[in-house]
């Protein structure tokens, strides 16, 4: 490995680490954000319902649980 290749590999490693860190930060932040409701507030048919933390969804899920228990 000559000097040019050595500098290049250090640069490559740094950029890869930076990209990995950037992706990690963005995915971590995304996991912390409550997703906005994107299905016209129709909880019944919404595929995001299971993980949705919107107040409407929580009320809907509670109601559903009650109905199921009865």
């Amino acid at each position: 490995m000559n000097r040019r290749q050595f500098i290049s590999s250090i640069g490559r490693g740094t950029i890869l680490t930076g990209l990995a860190a950037l992706s990690g930060v963005l995915i971590y932040r995304k996991s912390k954000i409550t997703e906005p409701c994107n299905f016209d507030f129709i909880c019944q048919d919404c595929r995001e319902l299971k993980s949705c933390k919107q107040p409407e969804a929580i009320i809907f899920k509670r109601g559903k649980e009650k109905r199921n228990s009865v």
Partner: protein, 426 residues
């Protein structure tokens, strides 16, 4: 012949897009008693979750295939047909959204605005081409980016341009990159998407001005290959930087260069670097003195650039809709309309926010632009300084080699090389 076939094929696909106008909305739009009409949307509808995942898989597959075609197969024909595929799939089918070029704004917005929930697809579209570039050079530009691919198809009679002009114009993408980041970071606008010259072609809804700019770029692109990629693309500026560290990059000759000079003028992008002999190296004291001068000039350029940028912060901030609204209200200019109240002002008056609150908010945004102006100006100063350094550095080269930063890995030069690869068949 194949190029003409590809252009005819593209025109047929464009004409098929007319059937989109017969599409029916899934849900009817609400009707307003006030007579308000819904404005047309400027972005395509969000894609279904499964299709968004499919897009990422197609991106990975396309990047892998193009990288293999460039590095292993060294096939210009293969790269060309991948370009056609990119135009059709990432361009017309996906309506060019989300693209890697625009994704850098989403990334910036997500970094500066923690409330913004960025889709994983967008992260993938930003990161994956950079990772592939880090290993194989700008193979994304070669045959995956629909904007580049469209221009590449139209590069019928490319002519070389002066290297000094190439260098000077090559600074523009970095300035554009800085501006795009500033506007995205301040949640002002996605300028790359708004002024994308080719997206209107893919969606068939270009405004007259953008259609003309796009058509002009394609027309210029017939003679000056891929003008948007070389002299405007902000994502290309990032790829340019990353590609310099690429592990494997296309080489003109498969084995040893015989200095036949056949490839010398083969690159339509002026990305082939000629051999530099040791005897051309200047005396050490002169080089040392030049570096000392540059060592002083670069910080000066950064500070002067930052100061100039900060002085323009109000001009830069006026693009922000809130700052503009505050400005219009403060000066009573009503967005230049004389007959009736501007929609923006009507909307503000009915929203219930006080003028004081708006002015306070606008003031805060202007302050962000002040600091952003310093950083943007400093960055532009740094780019100028580093360009000066790159012109001054002596790089010893024995062979004709592609410039890792500016080479778009299109594989055109390979066809000019008479050296055959070493075969294991014998």
């Amino acid at each position: 012949m194949k190029r003409k076939l590809a252009i005819i094929f593209l025109l047929v696909i464009i004409s098929l897009q007319i059937f989109n106008s017969f599409a029916i909305q899934r849900f009817p739009k609400p009707e307003f008693e006030s007579g308000h009409t819904q404005p047309p949307t400027i972005t395509p509808d969000p894609r279904a979750h499964a299709l968004a995942i499919l897009d990422v898989f197609v991106l990975v597959a396309a990047l892998s295939v193009v990288s293999w075609l460039v590095i292993k197969k060294r096939s210009r024909k293969g790269v060309f047909w991948m370009s056609v595929f990119a135009v059709l799939y990432f361009g017309f089918f996906r309506e060019g959204c989300v693209c890697s070029v625009g994704s850098l704004q989403n990334i910036t917005l997500a970094l500066f605005n923690p409330e913004y929930s960025i889709p994983i697809t967008v992260i993938a579209f930003f990161i994956l081409p950079l990772v592939y570039t880090l290993f194989f050079g700008r193979t994304f530009c070669a045959g995956v980016c629909p904007l580049g691919a469209l221009q590449d198809i139209f590069a019928l009679h490319p002519m070389p341009i002066k290297s000094w002009l190439e260098k000077v114009l090559g600074i523009i993408p970095f300035i554009y990159l800085g501006l795009a980041i500033l506007y995205a970071a301040t949640s002002t606008d996605f300028v790359i998407c708004r002024y994308d010259p080719f997206i209107g072609f893919f969606r068939l809804d270009a405004s007259f001005m953008m259609f003309m700019i796009g058509a002009m770029l394609l027309l210029i692109g017939v003679f000056i290959a891929r003008p948007y990629c070389r002299f405007l693309c902000p994502y290309g500026a990032l790829l340019n930087l990353v590609s310099r560290f690429s592990k494997k990059h296309i080489t003109i000759t498969p084995t040893e260069c015989i200095q036949c000079r056949l490839c010398e003028d083969s690159c339509p992008f002026g990305a082939i670097e000629k051999p530099v002999l040791l005897k051309d190296k200047e005396a050490r004291p002169i080089a040392v003195r030049r570096f000392l001068i540059l060592g002083i000039i670069i910080p000066v350029l950064v500070i002067v650039g930052g100061f100039v940028g900060s002085q323009f912060h109000e001009n830069l901030a006026i693009v922000n809709p809130k700052v503009r609204l505050a400005n219009e209200l403060l000066n009573n200019t009503n967005y230049g309309e004389t007959e009736k109240e501007a929609f923006e002002i009507t909307a503000f008056n009915s929203a219930g926010q006080s003028k004081e609150e708006l002015f306070k908010e606008a003031g805060s945004i202007i302050k962000q632009f002040y600091y952003g102006g310093w950083i943007l100006g400093g960055f532009i100063g740094l780019v100028f300084g580093l360009t000066l350094v790159s012109l001054s550095v002596f790089k010893y080269r024995e062979d004709y080699t592609p410039n890792k930063g500016t080479c778009l890995s299109c594989v055109r030069c390979v066809d000019y090389c008479p050296v055959l690869p070493i075969s294991n068949d014998y």
